[in-house]
Amino acid sequence: MWKWIQKLASPKVFYDTTNKLVPWFFWPFIVLTIIGLYWGLVLAPADYQQGESFRIIYIHVPSAWMSMLVYFIMAVTGAIGLIWQIKMAEVVAKVSAPIGATFTLIALVTGAIWGKPMWGTWWVWDARLTSELILLFLYLAYISLNNAFDNPRTAAKASSILAIVGLVNLPIIHYSVKWWNTLHQGSMFNDISNPSMHPDMLWPLLIMVFAFQFLYGVLTLISARDEVLVREQNSRWVRAVVTVEQL
């Protein structure tokens, strides 16, 4: 395992591996999205309290989960880059930021759209909503800081420290519905063996969660591949790859 990680730390091996993995993430994303959306939008019954509007959860919940998972990955890979000086970890952290910011934006926007018919308002300064908005600002700050330096290693160091400090926001988002009296509904998965959703509603949600994970995977692989080319542009192997590849 450690040997495999060490091998993957080589830019050329990393580039070749990402190239090979792209279709393995792209096609499951497409297939799972089609199944999840068909099941969620067509087959799943309407909620007895929320009516048809509950169908927004099939994009809201996966994107909200991904917003936190991607931030966690960004901070962990940033820390790996800081501690072990693994450049490919820095690359993964950097390319994850815009993807995570987009997931956060989707969670906030779809939540606001769901809130209008359910709560009667687009936005409230609720603990869950506010902490998720702070997460978006953390992503934007990370991207800005990363772009503020010419040297990619210095940029990675500064932005990784920011990402690690911002980790404190993740438990706040997760437990906000328990710690404070919020308008946002509680977690549906407090007891995994006894979820509060009917299986006909739960399965498409889980499928969409997996679809979004594959989406993150494919976008990270594509962006990381390009970032490696830029960073290693003075290497002979990049010259060979670029010369051979057709646009």
Binding site: E52, S53, I56, S63, I113, V242, T243
Partner: protein, 57 residues
């Protein structure tokens, strides 16, 4: 008549506006990520090809 009522002929009735708006925005943002990746792909390779061509001259 509100916009939600006007669009209630679509699937999901009175919630059609909210559901389709959510899915529409999500679709656009995800497509945007792929388009951005595709533009970067071409841009980076063109820049590197030009750089190597200049160095060879």
């Amino acid at each position: 008549m509100t916009l939600a009522e006007t669009l209630s002929f679509l699937p999901y009735g009175q919630y059609a506006l909210y559901i389709w708006l959510s899915y529409g925005i999500t679709f656009i943002l995800i497509i945007g990520l792929f388009v951005r990746a595709s533009i970067n792909y071409k841009k980076i390779r063109t820049q590197l090809k030009n750089k190597y061509a200049r160095e060879n001259d």
